[in-house]
């Protein structure tokens, strides 16, 4: 019994036992030597014989170790302890290597967890791969919203879908619990919930047979309204009409206006459409479908294409040249983020490679110093594998420390990012450090250990006895083979860094081009706000609405520093738009071939408030705007399109959805405006007086001479004075709205520039360290040269030449890599070619300047070597 206990204890006392064995063997040698001396041998001989008789101490210890229980495994733990002690002794090197690895691994882990969360994680719907988004396509556009009629035809005739639901998203005002709120509402068909596969947690969905207006609330909205469990059956006023709450959804970890995930769902009544419904109605619905199990997206596309062709044959005026698009839902949600994410992931991978190259270089330098020690150990009988194993363990400790540091850095980074970019990147809420990410980073650390530990370990062990002792005596470094490896590593680092720098330069130029784009309006000094007029309180008939709008305009105009006030239904950069077909008097055009234009209704001085210049003609008078609405203002491109050789002023037009019969006269031409985004060119547009339409929603534009943000409280106050129940939504300076649309680009650029900066630092450190170490190793040779009369300049230029050659090779390789690599970025560039010479030139310039500086410092140090003291050692 006690024997077992002793055995167990001895497992942990292994190190101590080994030391005792060592001490006993030393003691033995002393005894034996003593005995030999007494036998008359000379001291040298006595010692030698004693050693020979005993055999190799190392081997005795090895064999003893082999007999230990858990022999091999415990070797690792003692190697581990040894490695930790040694690394602590050389703290500076350890800290440098660990930090470098932490940066490389951390950035890669961070990007991977973002890619994992955004692109790879499944959507929160059951069997999400079956969900698709359907739309129509016309030349130049795809995934357009469809008309209700189209949806019905698809639903009745398609065989590919388990269910097809339709929805259309708007903003609605909700009243009934406290202050009126403006929320994202989706009007959906009754089968919407079954299609997406998520049913309300509280209550149920729409009962199409019942009367009344049912509404289902999102979890978030229910919480905002007080999280009352008894909310079922109560009434909320939506757009002044009572709706009955029939259900509350469970929390869904995703937001997605394009799939109808908003604040509430109202039954659209599409299922109760009368049989004589007309085709060609308003195209504003989004269709979501769940494919039947086993049906592929291609099959569904073919199926719908057939149906669409039949529609084209039946109603060519509405369906000519209109195709069908079927897009997997995941693609819709994350598709736009993919190019940027892919690029950033590649950048992070490059950074990791650079970090590895740096670390390999540093470890290689260290192995040179260990050459002596390794040689002696080999001569004492240590097995080469043992030495390699120790060095590998040391590298593993370094990379695990780097990996841990990297994961911590990535966690901190993701927290920071989630706070700042959560709104820009879809599905950021599902990004987290999960088991997959941890596994990836552990794997990364191990691979890095293998990569970084191999070169130094193998060269260290391969160094045979002769070279080891000879080099140690000479005090000089590695042979030409080792130097070559290090130069290759430096060149590789430089090349990869150049790729990142070029990428950053390309994005910078894209940004500069974007900033130069003329949007067609002047965004500075404009405050925007969304206003919703309650239908029942201010009906169009009787002029109540117009009266309210005039009062509002006047009141806002009266505010200090305000120069002009206007509003428009469709507003640039608001992701809301619609089109009409232009019908020109006296110019009949076959149905379906009329020109398509963007349209909107405007109030007051919208065009001047936005700074859209008047090119020809005039704007509306007060009478034309309010009392007898008439007159249409067209954009330049519309004028060119419809009247290429004529003056549009005075021409009479109407459109396919005119609210009242009769023609409108063109009274003025204004400049073009980029309606959708900074990148997309302006579309032909015309403007009607708002009173032509009865929509209750509009966006205000208030131009001020001062800071628009400072105007916010005054505007709120003014609106509240007119009617405290009017909800005002999203008060924001127009410049912020536009900047918001560029947020994604800015983010991608910031991250890429961050990677590039870090990699530049690493590359510079790598170049400096490599050269400094080479100088140190060649100290004697340099000292000899100096003693022989070489000037400071000669020495400096000699040393720098070696460094600059490596840098030069790296630059050339980097340029070649960049030409290939930046093709990946093409989708992210704006008006800049992927091989833009200016960007390439700038990147090379920066790199060369910085690298030259890094080469200069060690060269200077070389020149300062004092020949006398160096040659003495």
């Amino acid at each position: 019994m006690t024997r077992l206990v002793r055995r167990l204890i001895n497992v942990f006392r292994r190190g101590q036992l080994e030391r005792e064995l060592d001490a006993e063997l030393q003691s033995h040698l002393q005894f034996e030597t003593e005995r030999n001396l007494r036998a008359g041998m000379p001291p040298r001989e006595a010692r030698r014989r004693a050693h020979v008789r005993l055999g190799s101490v190392e081997q005795i210890k090895e064999h003893w170790r082999d007999t230990r229980p858990l022999g091999r495994w415990l070797d690792f733990t003692s190697d581990f302890a040894w490695a930790v002690r040694r690394l602590w002794k050389h703290r500076a090197l350890t800290v440098t290597v660990v930090t470098t690895l932490a940066l490389g691994i951390g950035s890669t882990v961070l990007m991977f967890s973002i890619v994992n969360g955004v692109l790879l994680q499944p959507l929160p719907f059951p069997v999400a791969s079956e969900l698709v988004s359907l739309g129509e396509s016309s030349p130049g556009w795809r995934d357009n919203p469809v008309a209700s009629y189209t949806y019905r035809v698809w639903r009745e005739h398609s065989e590919s879908f388990e269910s097809l639901a339709v929805m259309h998203r708007t903003e609605r005002s909700i009243e009934g619990r406290g202050e009126p709120l403006i929320v994202d509402a989706a009007h959906v068909s009754a089968n919407y919930f079954d299609t997406i596969g998520i049913r309300p947690a509280l209550g149920g969905t729409f009962d199409t047979a019942a009367s009344g207006r049912p509404v289902v609330l999102s979890h978030h909205l229910w919480t905002r309204l007080g999280a009352d469990p008894g909310i079922l059956g109560t009434t909320l006023r939506i757009v002044d009409r009572p709706h009955v709450v029939v259900g509350v959804m469970p929390p869904i970890t995703m937001s997605g206006p394009f799939i109808g995930l908003g604040d509430c769902w109202i039954w659209s009544g599409t299922d109760r459409v009368p049989e004589d419904y007309r085709p060609g109605s308003y195209r504003g619905r989004t269709v979501i479908g769940r494919l039947k199990p086993g049906v592929s997206v291609e099959q569904a596309r073919a199926d719908l294409a057939t149906i669409q062709r039949q529609l084209e044959a039946e109603y060519p005026q509405f369906y000519a040249n209109v195709g069908v698009t079927v897009t997997p839902l995941r693609e819709v949600v994350v598709g736009r983020a993919r190019p940027a994410l892919a690029m950033l992931f590649a950048a992070a991978a490059l950074l990791l490679l650079i970090a590895c190259a740096n670390v390999a270089n540093l470890l290689l330098a260290r192995s040179v110093e260990r050459q002596h020690e390794v040689g002696i150990r080999l001569s004492l009988g240590a097995r080469p594998w043992h030495i390699v194993r120790q060095l590998l363990v040391e590298s593993l400790v370094l990379s695990l420390a780097g990996g841990v540091g990297g994961v911590l850095a990535a966690m901190a980074g993701s927290r920071v990012l989630a706070g700042t970019i959560g709104s820009t990147v879809p599905r950021m809420e599902s990004v987290s450090m999960d088991a997959g990410v941890l596994l990836f980073s552990v794997g990364l650390a191990v691979v890095t250990a293998a990569v970084c530990g191999t070169a130094p370990a193998l060269t260290a062990a391969r160094g045979d006895l002769q070279t080891a002792t000879r080099d140690a005596a000479r005090g000089s470094s590695s042979g030409p083979g080792r130097q070559r490896v290090r130069q290759v590593l430096v060149s590789a680092e430089v090349a990869l860094t150049l790729v990142l720098l070029v990428g950053s330069a390309l994005l910078i130029r894209s940004f500069m081009r974007l900033a130069d784009v003329d949007l067609g309006f002047r965004a500075g000094h404009v405050l925007t706000a969304e206003l919703r007029i309650l239908d029942l309180k201010y009906p169009v008939e009787g002029g109540a609405r117009d009266a309210l709008l005039r009062r509002l305009s006047a009141r806002l105009q009266a505010l200090p520093e305000v120069t002009s006030v206007g509003a428009s239904y469709y507003f640039p950069f608001s992701a809301r738009e619609n089109t009409q077909h232009v019908i020109v008097e006296g110019r009949p055009v076959p149905s379906g071939q009329e020109p398509t234009v963007q349209y909107t209704g405007v109030i007051g001085d919208f065009l001047p408030a936005m700074g859209i210049p008047l090119v020809r003609g005039r704007l509306w008078t007060a009478e034309e705007m309010w009392t007898r609405p008439g007159g249409v203002v067209v954009s330049e491109s519309l004028a060119r399109m419809v009247w290429p050789n004529d003056d549009p002023i005075g021409k009479r037009v109407t459109h396919d959805r005119a609210p009242r019969p009769g023609w409108a006269t063109v009274i003025g031409v204004v400049g073009d405006v980029r309606q959708r985004s900074v990148e997309q060119p302006p579309l032909p547009q015309w403007y009607f007086p708002y009173s032509n339409y009865s929509w209750p929603l509009m966006t205000l534009a208030i131009r001020t001479t001062g800071d628009p943000a400072a105007l916010v409280p005054a505007v709120r106050q003014a609106v509240r004075e007119i009617d405290p129940d009017l909800p005002l939504h999203r008060l924001m300076p127009l410049e912020d709205v536009i900047a918001g649309t560029l947020a994604g680009r800015r983010l991608a650029f910031a991250l890429l520039a961050g990677f590039a900066a870090v990699s530049l630092v690493l590359a510079v450190v790598g170049v400096y360290a490599a050269l400094a170490h080479a100088v140190q190793q060649q100290a004697k040779e340099i000292a000899i040269r100096a003693a022989l009369g070489a000037s400071v300049g000669t020495i400096v230029s000699r040393v720098m030449r070696n460094g600059l050659i490596a840098v030069g090779i790296g630059c050339v390789a980097g340029v070649a890599l960049s030409v290939v690599g930046t093709r990946v970025m093409r989708e992210l560039l704006f008006e800049v070619s992927a091989t833009d010479a200016v960007s390439f030139g700038a990147a090379v310039f920066v790199l060369v300047v910085v690298a030259t500086g890094a080469c200069y410092l060690p060269a200077r140090r070389a020149a300062a070597i004092d020949p006398a003291s160096s040659l003495q050692t």
Binding site: T2, E24, H28, Q30, L54, G55, H63, T67
Partner: protein, 114 residues
Amino acid sequence: MTVTKSDVWRGTLALMILRTLDTLGPLHGYGIGRRIEQTSEGLLRINQGTLYPQLMKLEEDGYIRGAWGVSENGQRAKFYRLTRSGHRQLRRITKEWEQASLILDKFRALGEAP
């Protein structure tokens, strides 16, 4: 005659160590090795490399106990002494060897003339 590493021999080495300590009292490792060589009247040259690990094993098994001390000529060495269970083990192994050699003797006698 040089010693080969076999289980049998390791067992005999253990016997020789214990017997030496039994007769001579506490001794350091080097002394044990020298004494074994002397006892075999020069027929045995011990692989000194196996001696010390074997001493450690015996110590782990509890048959001997070691303590660091100083030898007569002022050298640091580890001195071993037999423990009580070491005595018991010695008696056990000795009896086994006696029996084994009796049996082997009979087999050796087989080849000779009746």
